[in-house]
């Protein structure tokens, strides 16, 4: 029944935002940001359990923990970047929103570089030496 709570919260917040936007657009923006933060914070608490299970599985199967850490960091960056970009986009600043997304992509790429490096080294190790 938590899903219904979230939907109700979103609907009520939308109505309130529409009412306030007539008078003060600034407050409407802050209210939208607050509602988004609230829902995000509520959901992120649930994700914690899933990630704990994931870590457990990874440690059981003997995957080096650095890989899982990198993947988790990438997921975190993706969530935050998407969230921030959407809030900024709500305020009508499309250019800054796309810059935030761009920065998110760059940081994800930087995080992924060690993994790519390992893959390339593995492939080179598979190739026959000399020739």
């Amino acid at each position: 029944m938590e899903m219904i709570q979230i939907i109700g919260l979103g609907l009520i917040a939308t109505v309130l935002i529409l009412v306030i936007r007539e008078q003060k657009p600034m407050f409407a923006f802050l209210l939208a940001a607050f509602t988004g933060l609230f829902i995000f914070l509520y959901v992120i608490g649930k994700i914690e359990a899933v990630i704990t299970v994931l870590e457990d599985l990874a440690s059981k199967s003997g995957i080096p923990s650095i890989y899982l850490k990198t993947v988790l960091k990438i997921i975190g960056i993706a969530y935050i970047a998407e969230f921030g970009a959407q809030i900024v986009r709500d305020a009508g600043l499309e250019s800054i929103a796309s810059k935030i997304e761009f920065a998110g992509k760059i940081f994800i790429l930087v995080m992924a570089v060690p993994i790519i490096n390992v893959i390339v080294e593995t492939v080179i190790g598979l190739l026959p030496a000399g020739s």
Binding site: M26, L30, F38, I44, I51
Partner: protein, 67 residues
């Protein structure tokens, strides 16, 4: 949910009341006073939003293993 849902209604209420006070003060001819009221209300709401944002970032840092 350690932050109550009522915070959303609080923000909406602050917005509506500030808008009301603003228009009343404008009618009385005190333009600068009206603007100060708006700014103060805005700062109060901004403070609430930033506190929640801080909480979200701390949560993400702990969950997604940022050091």
């Amino acid at each position: 949910m350690n932050i109550d849902v009522s915070a959303i209604f609080q923000i909406a209420g602050i917005g509506i009341i500030i808008a009301m006070i603003h228009s009343v003060l404008k009618q009385m001819g005190k333009e600068d006073m009206a603007h100060w009221v708006t700014v103060i209300g805005f700062v109060v709401v901004l403070f609430m939003v930033v506190r929640l944002l801080n909480e979200l970032f701390q949560e993400i840092k702990t969950i997604f293993l940022f050091q």
